[in-house]
């Protein structure tokens, strides 16, 4: 018994392994897969082109995409097509990251946010407006009016990942 109290006493003077969540948050690993974000280009256009390959890749059938046509008058993303509806059911999502792998434009990225809680099932469905990141400085909100012939390509030129 004395040995047991000694262990307790010893622990009083060591650094605690627990942290005071939510006041204190542990930094996550670099490759942590948390809640998705939909990225934008620097000019504010969405990277997502509504191709629904993420939905096709999703093993949990958590993603739902509907596409519509861009025009130069009302442009959401480069190229001809954008996602008019983009929904992820976070209750279904298993955070496997296949959507990120499938994305041809690096639009969907599993970021660091893991604080997901819902009072009902409906609020577990994240819409495009909830998923998309803020307009970067210097960018414009979409839909944008763009000059004809400038944004004709959906897929940007990309390099292979280096790390």
């Amino acid at each position: 018994m004395i040995r047991g109290f000694f262990t307790t006493l010893k622990s009083l003077f060591t650094k605690p392994v627990t942290i005071q969540y939510p006041e204190v948050k542990r930094p996550v690993r670099e490759r942590y897969r948390g809640r998705h974000e939909l990225k934008r280009y620097d000019n504010g256009l969405e990277k997502c082109i509504g191709c629904a390959l993420c939905a096709a890749a999703c093993p949990a059938d958590a993603i739902f995409v509907e596409a519509a046509a861009n025009t130069d008058e009302q442009r959401y993303s480069p190229g001809e097509r954008y996602a008019s509806t983009y929904e992820i059911n976070m209750l279904r999502c298993i955070f496997c990251g296949y959507c990120e792998d499938a994305c041809p434009t690096e639009a969907i990225v599993l970021e660091k946010d893991y604080e997901l809680s819902y009072a009902d099932r409906k609020s577990a469905i994240f819409t495009k407006e909830m998923l998309i990141v803020l307009v970067p400085p210097g960018g414009k909100p979409r839909p944008q009016k763009t000059e004809p012939g400038k944004f004709t390509r959906s897929i940007p030129e990309m390099k292979n990942p280096t790390d």
Partner: protein, 825 residues
Amino acid sequence: MDKLVSLTIDGRAVQAPAGTLIIDAAKKAGIVIPVFCYHPKLEPVGMCRMCLVDIGRPAIDRATGQPILNPDGTPKIQFGKLDTACTTPISEGMVVWGATEKVMSARKSMLEFLLTSHPLDCPICDKGGECPLQNQTMKFGPGDSRFIYDEKIHLRKKMPLGDLIMLDRERCIQCARCIRFQDQVVDEPVIGFYQRGRPLEIVSYSEPGFDSIFSGNTTDICPVGALTTTDFRFGARPWEMQPEASICTQCPVGCNINYDVRREARSAGKIVIKRVMPRQNESVNEIWICDKGRFTYHYVESPQRLTSPLVRQNGELKPVPWEEALTAAADKIRTAGSNLVTVAGGRLLNEDLYALKQMNQAIHGSIFHYSRMGGAGWVNRVGMAPGSNLADLGKGDAILVFASDLHEEAPIWWLRVKQAADRGAALIVANARPTRLNKHAAHGIKYRYGEEESALQELLAGESDAAKAFSSSKNAVIFLGSDGMGAAQVEAAAALASELLVKTDHFGKPNNGLVVVWQAANELGASMLGLSPSPTLGEKLGAAMGVYIAGADPVADDPDLNDAIQRAAFVIVQDMFLSETAKLADVVLPVQAVMEREGSLVSGERRVQLVYPAIPALEGTRPDFSITNEIAARLDVKLDLSAPEQIFDRLAQSERAFSGLSYERLAETQPQWPEVGDKDLYFGGTSFKNKEGLGVVPDLSHEMAEPSAGAKFQERAAVQYGEWLAVPVTSVYHQDVYVASAELLKNRIPSEAILMHPADATALGASSGGKLTLKWGIHSYEGSLAVDANLPQGVILVRRDMGIPLQQPTAVRVTPATNQSESDR
């Protein structure tokens, strides 16, 4: 049967008839040779070079003419350079290698070339997921390109070829399938190649762009995403949709189609139709459908559809619950008793018609089939026999197309008749005005509107070349339309046509018989169930206590019927929309559309086919048969009709015309050539494989009535001085709600209801585009005029369903509407 030729493909012994192309022989043996430009329905051109194979032929000693043998006694095979499998016919002893290193490397190089300027559009391309180029690149192509990325040629994307078809020039691999389809299959060569080499592009020559009723099919056979429909543009990815089998109800051909459906957030979570695709049925529509069938499905989602029963209260139609409406309808029918006249239209499925018939029998009322056509009785006797297929007609056979502009009335029949003529069938086109079919006709018969009888009598007399060609043919089919004729005239013409068939012994056997080009989808079903139209429907309706109208809009069609229906004590209408007839009704019962239903219908070629429910029914609507069943129950008539299949089983037992049929039999399929869909996308295109039933053609009625001279053409409309003969004609696109609901087709619907010869128009002081007033009896209607120098003089053609309810040849008084309004001032 052609001589069989033996050869070896990929080490397998294959036998095929002489003249078969290597590619087809391989396909039939289950060996895949990839292609882009070859299509089994088109002439081979060997443009894409994807089907290169190593072909070896037995070496022949020139001196002796004998095959040279190897030391082991086998014939020596000589191989040369790679050759195209799509242009080389098979020959005896040939050895074909399609999967060797040499061939594979050729395929890899071909794909590398095709991809030099192909954009990386797959994620946003409507073809992505069902794209032969995509699939074959994955299977045979190189992982990398040796070409310089920056040297890709950039051409114009998003280039509309007319309202319906979108072209992406970058994606085109120049296989010319679309151009060849338009040229060879449908003979509407409105698109073509422009320039040559790398800048070669597809252009449309016509105004409006891509002016063809079959244009949608080019998107099915395009092996890349160069041609897509504007209707479906970015609608969904192919793998996200569920195909649901159905039958097109826009005309009597009965094309087998699939509705591709998907649940959509945009449509408030409802399952909606995203596109219409052909479903292969080589006896009906092969792998084609017309643009009308492909794009008119939008009526099902029209906001104008009725969603609640309406009952007239204090002179106004008010929405009421179903119970109340059904009780109101039943109460009214009880008061009428046997004085009820039921009118059943050609929109109804067999099951609905049977329910109406049963209820009518129980209450001893009278029931009529509502039709603007006639001749069903004759078709039941001398219609197309089981085993018929228009594709079997060719050399030595004859087809008579009488008083029908098939291109407008039933486009797929036009296509199949034209192809039969291409194969050598003697095509006889008899019409009062030139039609598109005349170009392919061996014999043209021209008569004047109103002289149909004498034209048929002349054929019966058998003196003319056309008559001789018809009577001496092996097989003969008559297509009888309603160009310039009303129901009575068509009935009389059908009698004479039947007489002609019987006289020349062209009935009761496969590939022979009479086909009436109906105006509604299931008119033949009604007649097979024993319902017939009444030539004096107006009088009968006028004398009735009450009228029960299902699936018809007689008020819009005929001002006389309008008057009669107005006189009835009550009117009950079953319809999808608040039609002109429904506006007069006391009780309106909203029904489901065909794509929301299960049931069966009968095509003009007598094929009984199944429709399956594709989308959930609109809330508040019910199927026609169930409404009839409910009303009958309230009249203490126990019909006990609860489900389509149960009804069909009952009608198959009680109706001789349907005996021996069941949903199982209608759903039977068998292998068809060419193979399409699924893994055969590269070969036949994206038309769907038929897994849901080819339908069954039941036996003809056995009691072969002697053709009688009983049916008489009505006296030709007496045209007084100052009057004109006006006749009804059909145009493929019109203002009927089912067609007009499709936004895309709006520009294709002609704005003119009246057609005449320019000389006549000048005589009347009218000009093209101007308005004319037509008056007959107490009726007066206004419509725009189009002039056409090909039309006969002295007659006015009135398009059906364009606002002028002219149903039979009528003598009318014509005045230019503008002049009148000026003189009024």
